[in-house]
Symmetry: C2
Subunit: 345 residues, 2 copies
């Protein structure tokens, strides 16, 4: 007798998004006060005031999400907090409180864990976020971190993934691919190095969540849909399109690559475009809105925050799918091949 593959289907077989779909089915309908549940950057809950409660949670695993060979504990704390704050930014919300749970290998020095919390706190302080709870335990093997952040947003301003409209323009804050290029550099441990390489490494080790940028956008334009870049542009734009039941066209020659990304990719014989599309962890914001509205605030935004605001495409009918217009004018399908947390092998 032979076992069919499905008889012993593992997590690796269906991937992270496949698993989330299974979980959604089991979880069923959320409570009445839940405005948005599984499937957006943060859950949105009506608590009976003029603001919605936002809750987001991330789990981070050593050797999957981070590598202590080149992350200091301080940087790891910062980066983990950044990833969660970025989810609140994606909802155009204000982060408020953080809950940090950590499973720690028994031989870890206390000073290391203190540095981890200092990194989290220093970034949290920038946004008046306080760490007010969590849990600690030991781990039999690697370090695990789980951060939950609560925040809020005015009811009239919540920005989900699902609001994209046909003919919307798609914008991205800052630049893409830098975190991936930085990670590649860190894995090589090259030194001495040009200044650009340091900047790229910093993008991986000390990313900046776009909290204030999101709030500025929320206050100055009508945001239709927004998401943060945790898995890569390809994955994020597909999330917006499937949630909004639309398609999208991204123009390759408009994608803003982080300075030095091309050089790193060239040195490694890789394509810089793939760093932007599939690298992830840039924690920039991708949003859709009326093009004219964004054009009007673009100069002020760029001056205020010191980062570009770049038009990278537009929303089209669902039937047209999600595509990339290449530099040579040809069209290519753009699939959500992101950095998978359940890699094969």
């Amino acid at each position: 007798m032979f076992l069919k593959k499905n008889d012993r289907e593992t997590i690796t077989d269906i991937g992270e998004f496949g698993l989330i779909e299974r979980i959604k089915k089991i979880a069923g309908r959320p409570n009445a006060g839940v405005v948005l549940g599984i499937g957006d950057d943060a859950a949105v809950i009506d608590v009976g005031t003029n603001r919605y409660l936002l809750v987001t949670t991330d789990i981070l695993t050593e050797k999957i999400h981070f590598n202590l060979d080149y992350f200091s504990y301080y940087q790891l704390g910062w980066r983990s907090m950044a990833a969660n704050l970025s989810d609140i930014a994606a909802m155009a919300g204000s982060p408020e409180n953080a809950f940090v749970s950590v499973a720690i290998p028994k031989t870890t020095e206390i000073t290391s864990i203190e540095e981890l919390y200092r990194g989290m706190k220093d970034l949290a302080d920038l946004y008046q976020v306080t760490i007010i709870g969590g849990d600690t335990t030991s781990s039999t093997s690697d370090l695990f971190l789980c951060i939950t952040i609560t925040g809020s947003v005015e009811k009239t301003h919540v920005t989900a993934r699902s609001g994209a409209k046909i003919n919307d323009t798609i914008y991205v804050t800052g630049s893409l691919g830098g975190s991936c290029a930085g990670m590649k550099l860190l894995n090589q441990i090259k030194s001495p190095e040009p200044a650009e390489n340091s900047a790229l490494k910093k993008k991986h080790l000390n990313p900046q969540p776009r909290i204030e940028e999101a709030q500025y956008l929320r206050q100055n334009i009508s945001l239709h849909a927004m998401i943060d870049v945790s898995d890569g542009l390809a994955s994020e734009i597909n999330h917006i399109c499937s949630s909004s039941a639309v398609g999208a066209t991204i123009l390759e020659n408009t994608i803003p690559l982080a300075d030095g990304t091309k050089e790193v990719a060239a040195a490694l014989g890789e394509k810089p475009l793939s760093y932007a599309l599939n690298g992830g962890e840039d924690y920039e914001l991708i949003f859709t809105a009326g093009g004219e509205e964004v054009k009007a605030i673009k100069p002020e935004f760029e001056k205020k925050f010191g980062i570009p605001l770049t038009k990278i495409g537009y929303i089209v009918e669902a039937e047209k799918g999600v595509s990339l217009t290449l530099k040579n004018g040809k069209e290519a399908g753009l699939k959500p091949t992101s950095w998978d947390h359940f890699p094969e092998g």
Copy 2:
């Protein structure tokens, strides 16, 4: 040159509560709206309505908190959800929404993870709690679970650990030591077995959080301080006393042991009292209140919920410390030696 021990102090050296103290110092003062932060069963946040927001989070590690040799994935899901719901019960609150993060070994079958979520959902359903968010990733080694639950409680009814008053009577719901005895049985895998043993195993595998019991108490008496039994009576009563700046006397001969606990301990040459004091994970409630008030509702409580409500001691002046009056009339100090998540060795 010799390294002083302190130069490389590890988590094992200072233990879980030592670590939490260090983290509290780094975390600093919470935001203005935070009524209770690190150090109670759940954080309490003022969101501007007549109810406080409650948030609690727990991290659970394979081989530390649970063992898949005898936990089915369904039972593990149930038990993990129970531990978190119990923290909301300890605040006399109503749980509302759950966020489940899980780090999964790559070879885990999908059906196992589905069973894990079904176990969580089936218990959550009993209290109208819905799973509305979370995160999934792979793990390089063991299974890790991190659950966050949000809930609420009327502002006038929040029950912290810190409200115990001198001369309060100390009560416990249900019985103690059963989860520990059940775990010991599971580690032996004895079968066939008497019905009591099955009941004890169930206490470990399928505990019941005391959500409704806590709400009944909140509505019918003036609760001064409350905590749930996750680490064991010794640890919990010390938490109440240090938070409330009082002492306590526990009477050994009044501690309600779960049926069969004595027999299991006797068979293993251990003391059943230590199962109650240090075993933990019974998820019963320990509370302090005026003795006469509790006496008045005790018959109705016991009839309604089918579990005993037992007076186990009283609150005394801080100077008297936390002590146990033994069966022979002698006094012994009662230290918070709980089931440590950072065991030595």
